[in-house]
Symmetry: C2
Subunit: 394 residues, 2 copies
């Protein structure tokens, strides 16, 4: 077996996607197949303002489902709310969680779902002390294309006791179904649309930059999904009610993170780790942090595989391939990514987010366990590498 | 709602893909999760000659599984063998079918799987008299990348009583798992590799040529998968033990037909119908029939949407886009497809398969119920249209 070969993989994504106009009216029927007594989990007022809450409740009521509610999910969803959800489910004999919202609401619902049948503290799964054996089924009505949690097997929760933000990846938490109506995203603020797009593109690029050779099909599927984003995000920003553009973005957001694009290869994921420390200290959206970190990461590592970066520039950004100077081609791809982020209103430098040098050393420490481990797979970055990337992003 | 919008869709593909080197040794463990008494279903000698049969049996034996065998599946799998399989399963109390082979073996296994729990004649499902409520689980060890049946919800069976060839599409027949080791395909004869490639490419092109507007993500995923095939099939023919090329083809063959590429759009499928009559009368491989029919179909219908054909030529075949003459661009794409088929040893004219005008009228009749219905969605073809396409292919 040669090292370059595509890596053996297992792929199974069981989430049923129900996509299109008015699909939220199907939530009662889909839910009823699992349960007649559910926890309806959501964030705050936006789904009440735009009418989605009423439509979902109507559909659930018509299906004769007993609904218990737990709202108040915040960005970076909290452990205490998860524990409250677990308590309610046990008390009321609830065996299904319906998440109506974006990634935070879905991640919180998944945490409740693994916590209910577990005798210990659900945080055990996030701290790596235990592995889930089972989970309640989770249904989703998606409102923000971004995190890809609607058909992923992962969940990220923040423990307020020490402000640890930790992730769980387990096949038991793939949602049972995800209802996706692009019309629901018409009312997203521009900045949130752009941040979601940045998150989606980052999910693809984290997978794209790999040392695995001979993974051509997935390279090309990644490029196809990125190009779709690059064309449709500006359309959606120009005309927020452009159904076609919203639909392309929403479906691309799922394809980006449902693990098809991970098959046969090892992704990088350093930029997510580096961004993570940024949004842990500063009040910056994940997508905006990624639009700052990703170009800096690229500038720092592109020499590791100029061919791959030149391919990215040429195929994704239509940069002319300069066969006499592939490095020039590669660099133009990074410039094109920066120009795109700027065009959709995202920052590409820490200074644009009013972040200065003050905490860079601290973040580099946290990101690498004070230098005790590296981050990323494409290039294994040390603490000093991470610091240099933060500095490049200033 | 505008007609052009992406169409609402439901997508769920539950098949677990286990992909890579030596994965056939996992078949015992995967099967054991479902049953300890199975029907092992396969074709003829090829899996015995190349050692796959022995490896599969060893893995099943080690897992302590009681194996009953039914071999002898032919291309265009027959109803009588299906009925024999149903009888064996009932008699022995078997509740799991393991298919080791290509599309014919898998389709036959699916037919047995829906037939066992059904009181009537399994043909009822294929003739449209009944709809399956349930099916036994089916596992697959794939040997030929072509039909995509390893993760599809369809099965085609031939009833020898009248030689009717009919298809069933039902979500109950998605295989439970599919084990895919590209090394197993090293020993495929060149012609079979090429015919499989033609089948895979046809599955993508049938979906690509649509009247649904604003389906950009899936357009691009189709183009990416086609380009992967175009690059890797010649590599595999040049060096049959090129693992990377074989792996790209095998994974592309699944992606082509697992219904992801159908989401949000209506495919055409006329060429499959037109080819079907060809291989029903003449002894010609499905893939070779498709390489004859598809270019003729394209020449006949391209004016219906020159833009789409020009996009296909430009993006899939790297034809320079002539903005002053998109029709020229479109036609060059069709020429490129013909040149590709020729380069991999496939016929592109009926004459190359020694087929003359004799049965053209008869096939056009059969294909359209003597003109009582049309075939295809991109352009709805009448009996005379189909006849003209056969003539174009002479």
């Amino acid at each position: 077996m040669e090292e370059e070969d595509m890596i053996n993989f297992t792929f199974r994504n069981p989430t049923k996607i129900i996509f299109g106009k008015d699909t939220e009216y199907l939530v009662g029927k889909e839910t009823k197949a699992y349960s007649s007594r559910i926890l309806l989990h959501y964030g705050g007022g936006s789904i009440k303002r735009n009418g989605l809450y009423d439509r979902v409740r109507k559909s659930l009521d018509e299906a004769g489902i007993e609904v218990h509610e737990l709202s108040g999910v915040l960005p970076n969803p909290r452990l205490t709310l998860v524990q409250e959800g677990i308590r309610i489910c046990r008390e009321k004999g609830i065996n299904f969680i319906l998440a109506v919202g974006g990634g935070s609401v879905i991640d919180s619902a998944k945490a409740i779902a693994v916590g209910v049948p577990y005798k210990g503290n659900v945080w055990d799964f996030y701290s790596g002390k235990a592995v889930p054996g089972e989970a309640l089924p989770v249904g989703v009505v998606l409102t923000i294309p971004a995190a890809g949690s609607e058909s992923s097997n992962s969940s990220v929760i923040t423990n307020e006791d020490g402000w640890y933000k930790r992730g769980l990846t387990d096949d038991s938490i793939y949602p049972a179904f995800a209802i996706m109506n692009p019309e629901v995203t018409f009312t997203l603020p521009d900045y949130q649309t752009a941040c979601g797009a940045s998150d989606i593109m980052a999910h693809i690029m984290e997978r794209y930059f790999t040392n695995t050779r001979d993974v051509e099909l997935i390279d090309r599927l990644c490029e196809a999904t990125l190009k779709t984003m690059i064309l449709n995000v500006p359309r959606a920003l120009k005309n927020p009610t452009d159904y076609a553009a919203r639909a392309e973005i929403m479906w691309a957001g799922t394809v980006a993170h449902n693990n098809l694009l991970s098959t046969g290869r090892i992704g990088d994921w350093a930029s997510h780790g580096i961004e993570h420390e940024l949004s842990a200290i500063y009040d910056i959206a994940h997508g905006a942090g990624l639009s700052i970190v990703f170009p800096a990461w690229m500038k720092y590592v592109y020499k590791h595989d100029i061919s791959r970066f030149a391919q990215y520039a040429h195929r994704v950004w239509n940069v002319d391939y300069n066969v006499f100077n592939p490095e020039e081609t590669a660099l133009k791809g990074i410039e094109a990514l920066e120009a795109f982020y700027t065009s959709i209103g995202l920052p590409i430098r820490l200074s644009q987010a009013n972040i200065d040098e003050e905490h860079l050393e601290e973040m580099a420490d946290k990101c690498t366990g004070s230098g005790s481990y590296t981050v990323g797979n494409f290039v294994k970055l040390t603490r000093d590498d991470v610091l240099n990337i933060y500095k490049l992003a200033l």
